[in-house]
Point group: C2
Chain length 461, copies 2
């Protein structure tokens, strides 16, 4: 790093606005699962959009690259610098406004998801995005990765929840697209560029987000199902009966059993089911519970579900979700594994599960397939766990990863449903993504960031 740039940044940000000592910077340089380790000559901690713009302006003048980091909960390595200046948005912490009549909240990039949920609740509104890392993940990061989570079936991805964005462009100018309008057809919808761009086109500094009425009733149940094929008509029946399915989470039997073995104080609500589906519906009018119960009774009659347990208390609801949210942790002690996050059209989830399992078994006899996740969106977290007793060298990670992605793509699917590309998926991105799409992305990247100083290792160059 150029010494003069260091001095200018230090003068600009003041003593609270940057860190260079290894012990201060270290927590920002390691991914939370320990998979990526990085380094940076300078951690910038700007406290306002103006300061972010000034930092970027200086870096642009020096053609010095920047990696942006929010809550450091990303899963594909995009937020870990490899020598770039690291810009953390964690000091951009203000909730600028919250208007229940507009159903809109305006927050800065460093505000944590759970704080947005709480601010909405205080105004008697709902911010529906919900995911395991909601206590740490920041709005800037959630936008830059187009986060998904457990309520996508009803409310969509982060992209669907963004009304406006304020961002600092790669030359330091501020793009002010922070309106709270529901409709604005005045040209290209530029905010879309920053959503899911993994920090490669600029730095999101604030956003206006959609709020919803708080549903007055919530229905949560667990169903055991004989096979993924049977889950499809069950899901369809529930959608038709309630119009209000918010979550439909699939868990295969081995994913549950390993988690019960490795995580304390969990309960299997339906032991013996070949697979489970965690169902959540929500509505603001009476009648949801009756409609859902009738649909589930009909589903058992039709053989779509084997058995059903309905949560009658908050504690039971919490217990169902705790099982679901413990799955990743429950698989970690089982040794080497390949984790994929694919999506296919909803109707193709059973075919994907079958094809991917066969491919993995062929590559590694004895492999244990844990498959779970957002079946209502066609999004399966699919992991291949090393056969018990096998040596790490005998576990063909790369081939398994490719075979799983191959199965998804052959069914019209995607190699990354909600986690993004980062550096973790770059090789498969280049292999499976339409070359014309990659060329278009490159043209846009070069048009907006001609000096390639924004997250240059990530996604596209």
């Amino acid at each position: 790093m150029n010494a003069s740039l260091h001095d200018k940044l230090a003068a600009l940000l003041g003593p609270n606005g940057y860190r260079v000592e290894p012990q201060d910077v270290a927590p920002h340089l390691v991914e939370w699962r320990g998979r990526y380790q990085g380094w940076t000559p300078f951690l910038a901690l700007p406290s306002s959009t103006r300061e972010v713009a000034a930092v970027v302006t200086l870096c642009a003048e020096h053609k010095t690259a920047i990696t942006t980091q929010g809550g450091n909960t990303g899963l594909v390595g995009a937020q870990i610098p490899q020598g770039e200046i690291l810009l953390s948005t964690t000091r951009l912490k203000s909730v600028r406004s919250c208007d229940p009549v507009d159903d809109a909240i305006v927050v800065e990039a460093g505000v944590v998801l759970s704080q947005v949920q709480a601010a909405a609740q205080e105004a008697d509104r709902l911010f529906p995005l919900s995911l395991a890392s909601e206590g740490s993940a920041t709005i800037g990061g959630l936008i830059s990765t187009n986060a998904g989570g457990v309520h996508v079936a009803r409310y969509g991805m982060m992209r669907d929840l963004v009304l406006g964005i304020e961002a600092v462009l790669p030359d330091g100018r501020v793009f002010d697209g922070l309106k709270t309008l529901r409709k604005d057809n005045t040209g290209y919808d530029l905010k879309q560029l920053f959503i899911g761009a993994e920090g490669t086109l600029g730095i999101v500094t604030a956003a206006s987000l959609k709020l919803y009425p708080r549903p007055s009733s919530r229905f949560t149940a667990m169903a055991s199902i004989a096979s993924p094929e049977r889950a499809l008509p069950l899901l369809h029946r529930l959608k038709n009966a309630t119009g209000a399915v918010a979550a439909f989470e699939f868990m295969n039997r081995i994913s549950i059993d390993l988690t019960l073995k490795n995580v304390a104080d969990l309960r299997d609500p339906l032991p013996g089911g070949a697979a489970l589906a965690l169902i959540e519906c929500e509505a603001s009018t009476a009648g949801l519970r009756d409609a859902a119960l009738a649909a589930l009774a009909a589903a058992i009659e039709a053989g779509e579900a084997q058995d059903v347990v309905v949560a009658e208390t908050e504690a039971q609801t919490h217990g169902f979700w705790r099982l679901r949210e413990s799955l990743s942790a429950g698989h970690r002690p089982e040794g080497a594994q390949v984790n994929c996050d694919i999506s296919v059209p909803v109707s193709q989830t059973p075919a994907f599960l079958k094809q991917a399992q066969i491919a993995c078994e062929r590559l590694h006899p004895g492999v244990r397939i844990v498959a779970f996740g957002h079946m209502g969106d066609g999004n399966i977290h699919f992991s291949a766990l090393i056969a018990p007793g096998a040596s790490a060298e005998a576990f063909p990670r790369a081939a398994i990863n490719e075979a799983i992605h191959e199965a998804a793509v052959s069914l019209g699917g995607s190699i990354s449903a909600e986690h993004g590309i980062g550096i973790a998926r770059l090789a498969d991105f280049k292999r499976f993504k339409d070359p014309i799409a990659i060329e278009m992305m490159r043209a846009i990247k070069h048009a907006i960031d001609p000096n390639q100083i924004m997250n240059p290792r990530v996604l596209i160059s």
Copy 2:
């Protein structure tokens, strides 16, 4: 037009694939209200994506500009050629697939909206986009203009209903983004570029669209309200009580009275109300009607509504909507008028109505302000009608237009909520749009269409 290009296109498309005779081309050259008149040397009528790509490839080689037209229902002049080759998508008519389990339909660009609605209904699904021109407007045009309509409050704009897009790029390559995935985080969401781009970045040839369960109950009512200010808590109450407001359409008194005068066989369901709100809620569970009725009773108690009529039959529902949909036609016989399509944050609609009215009255005493539209989205169709007996020269059109837009922008609003920019709003676009946003749009336009052959007169150059 270059003679060799003409011959190559004619050979490519065959006798059914193009028209050059004036009487054949004429219907495509005039906007349906007669506001824009154009000309073209060649009307291309390709019948497949492959043919569209071949036409564009030839035009790109000859650096010859193209204007694309769907159902010719646009309101801002974007679809009327001024010497460019005119490419009509009307022969791209295939419904490629419709899958109720995926809740997705794949259609070509020339399919008309009402056909998509019908195909969805046949599969027991709902395609929720609905607007006055749904019997003529095509999917390609609706995507290129990011159409809105009457159900945005519940289902969003066209942008929110698009899962994937196939488009021919300005160099003739085909961008194949026609997946039916709910989640796909593999880079920039390129389909967003084509939505609302008014044909300036390529030609949409097909799209995959979201379907929904068909709601089993619909509640439609008309409320009289003392003022726009009173309408806001009424809307908020209904949202909270039902979680299912699909439409909340405002109509001021004069907009109704002029329509009753000029359109036959209409009925005013609540004569004497200062303004009316047409309310529609829909849900799939019982209990909607009771919740909505209770909310409306409480609203009358609280003075938010003066009186309410609930539609008890299909005929009554139809009658309410017929009044709403007759408003534009009902104002046309009243002579010269300035029509705006603005949006503001929902909470600012009363302030906008007040400020814009005052500004118009100052510019043209005796002006009649008709204001109606999608108040639930903050989108008001606001028209200033010439004072009775005034001469056209005494009606300051440009100043009124600018004053209305000024009022919207000063309240955080937009000069075009759902109609777009085209050529009609270009001057105000340049005046009111953030210059940084215009520069970003230009950078993208030049990156994707460096020879500027796609709708070059429109939106951005």
